[in-house]
């Protein structure tokens, strides 16, 4: 009988293999892509940096940054939840700011610098926020977790930059790190398992270490 660990590895391998197949079959070269008018190409070359690596891609204009990361670069840590900017599972950092990768086109990020969960930390070299999520059990199924972690890392930077929030009492006072502030600022990341209280504890611990 196969051990659960072996099953997990084979599932992951299968995912990578099928993603590669889809890309080969589903990404025609620019010359062959659909066009509306003879001169209008529906594909574009774009180059940006992902987790420190400079990359060039030839993409159908419709490709979201999320799909470019997952289906073209096989960085499947970034998750597709709703694909409409409502859940936050696709949160990545672009030029240091958190955004929904599902609601932006890859071709709009020429020259940009993108950091995904894979770039924040790796097994054996975890980002403090990743370690804190493990320590505080800040997840159950784990699907929203990469988005939660990317979002929380950038969120603490936003507080450091003195960006106010909806629950900030005094707009002219320095931004504070409180549970209420963390909850409000993380409201763009939905966790349907309901691990919120542990997520707040994990973020609070990292924030405490920073200040």
């Amino acid at each position: 009988m196969q051990s659960p660990g072996a099953l997990e590895i084979s599932r992951r391998d299968l995912l990578v293999a099928s993603a590669a197949t889809v890309t080969v079959a589903g990404a025609p070269s620019l010359a062959h892509s659909q066009t509306n008018t003879p001169e209008a190409s529906t594909g574009t070359n774009v180059s940006f940096t992902v987790n420190g690596e400079r990359l060039e891609l030839e993409l159908d204009n419709r490709t979201t940054l999320l799909d470019a990361l997952r289906e073209h670069l096989y960085l499947t840590g970034t998750k597709k939840g709703c694909d409409h900017g409502q859940c936050g599972a696709c949160t990545v950092l672009v030029d240091g700011r958190r955004i929904n990768a599902c609601l932006t086109l890859a071709v709009m990020h020429e020259g940009g610098s993108i950091t995904t969960i894979e770039g924040l930390g790796q097994p054996g070299n975890l980002h403090p926020m990743q370690a804190a999520f493990v320590e505080h059990d800040g997840f159950q199924c784990g699907y929203c977790t990469p988005g939660q972690i990317c979002s929380s890392v950038a969120m603490l930077e936003e507080i450091s930059a003195n960006i106010p929030s909806h629950v900030t009492d005094d707009l002219m006072a320095p931004a504070e790190i409180t549970a209420a502030e963390i909850r409000e600022r993380m409201s763009g990341n939905i966790c349907r398992c309901g691990a919120y209280s542990n997520i707040v504890e994990a973020i609070t611990e990292v924030a405490g270490r920073k200040t």
């Binding site: 529906t42 419709r62 694909d83 900017g85 086109l105 709009m108 020429e110 763009g188």
Partner: protein
């Protein structure tokens, strides 16, 4: 999503010209609403003109003592700007009450004004919707209308403008600056910018084909207490059932704009004259022409109670 060609605009003049001369062209800035709608094929542009590189991302003082906000200033940056926080707190508060941290980092000042309704029947392509498909009918009027408009609506459409920022801009009497395809510019007071639905709910604003918003100008600071109060179905990251943006002066006079109840930020200067007489007098005047459905009639009461709370907060 339908296929489209893509270009990065090199100047505001060429962007406006290209948008006017290319069939099916649309500008894209933050893209947070447009791409959402393109995935559902509610928006089907065949050409996108990316305006993000046009440098319209600064907030500068005007000779009149106000501020000129570039069309591409992101919601986060506008809300966090020290001058906005100090002199136009209502605008900061409204922005921070909207969307999520991720969306505010992308969404722009101009795009926010042009965002489309979140009426569920506009989003559901299996349903009739006069805004999405003119002449098909309105499923909302006899449907689930709890979230929808009570005033300024028509027999063709009861959708609302969903935003928070525009409510604050309306209370502040912001002016929208544009450039047209022929290179001429104009200034449009926000009161005249959004159109009421009437028989053509698909036409939502007064911009011409190819016309590009370049800035939104705020008048000089007007003092007073700035309050933005929003009632919604969850504590964060939800559209308003009703929102009230207010600037109340020490003498009890003030400005009130209301969101979540109409196809545009709803303000009536005659209702503001009633403010010293209290919330009931002002809200009665503000909603004199309201025609709610059974499901959203509660908004009439809610506006009065929120106004009452806002006036109490202003006094306190």
């Amino acid at each position: 999503m339908r296929a489209f060609s893509y270009e990065c605009a090199s100047s505001i003049e060429t962007a406006a010209k290209a948008a006017a001369s290319t069939d099916g062209a649309k500008f894209i800035a933050g893209g947070t609403n447009l791409l959402d709608l393109m995935k559902l094929e509610i928006e089907t542009p065949t050409h996108l003109i990316d305006v993000n590189g046009l440098g319209l991302d600064r907030i500068e003082p005007t000779p009149e003592g106000g501020l000129r906000i570039g069309a591409l200033v992101r919601n986060t940056d506008l809300a966090a700007d020290e001058r906005i926080r100090r002199d136009y707190g209502l605008l900061s508060r409204a922005l921070l009450a909207g969307a999520s941290g991720q969306l505010r980092n992308r969404a722009t000042t101009a795009g926010n004004l042009l965002q489309r309704t979140r009426c569920p029947y506009f989003y559901d392509t299996n349903q009739p919707c006069n805004k999405r498909q003119p002449g098909s009918g309105c499923a909302a009027i006899a449907g689930f209308s709890r979230q929808l408009g009570v005033v300024g609506v028509s027999d063709a459409c009861i959708a609302t403008h969903p935003g928070d920022m525009a409510v604050a801009m309306r209370a502040l009497d912001a002016v929208i600056e544009t450039i047209r395809a022929d290179g001429t510019t104009r200034s449009i007071p926000i009161a005249d910018f959004h159109r009421l639905p009437g028989k053509t709910p698909d036409i939502e604003h007064v911009l011409e084909r190819g016309e590009l918003i370049t800035a939104v100008v705020l008048p000089k600071p007007m003092g007073g207490k700035h309050i933005y109060r929003k009632v919604r179905d969850r504590a964060s990251y939800a559209f308003a059932l009703v929102s009230v943006g207010a600037i109340v002066q020490p003498d009890g006079t003030g400005r009130i704009a209301v969101g979540g109840i109409a196809p545009k930020p709803w303000r009536d200067e005659a209702a503001e004259k009633e403010l010293p007489r209290g919330a009931k007098a002002a809200s009665t005047r503000l909603l004199a022409d309201a025609r709610p459905t059974e499901q959203n009639a509660f908004k009439i009461t809610l506006v009065e109670r929120m106004l009452s709370a806002v006036l109490a907060e202003a006094r306190g």
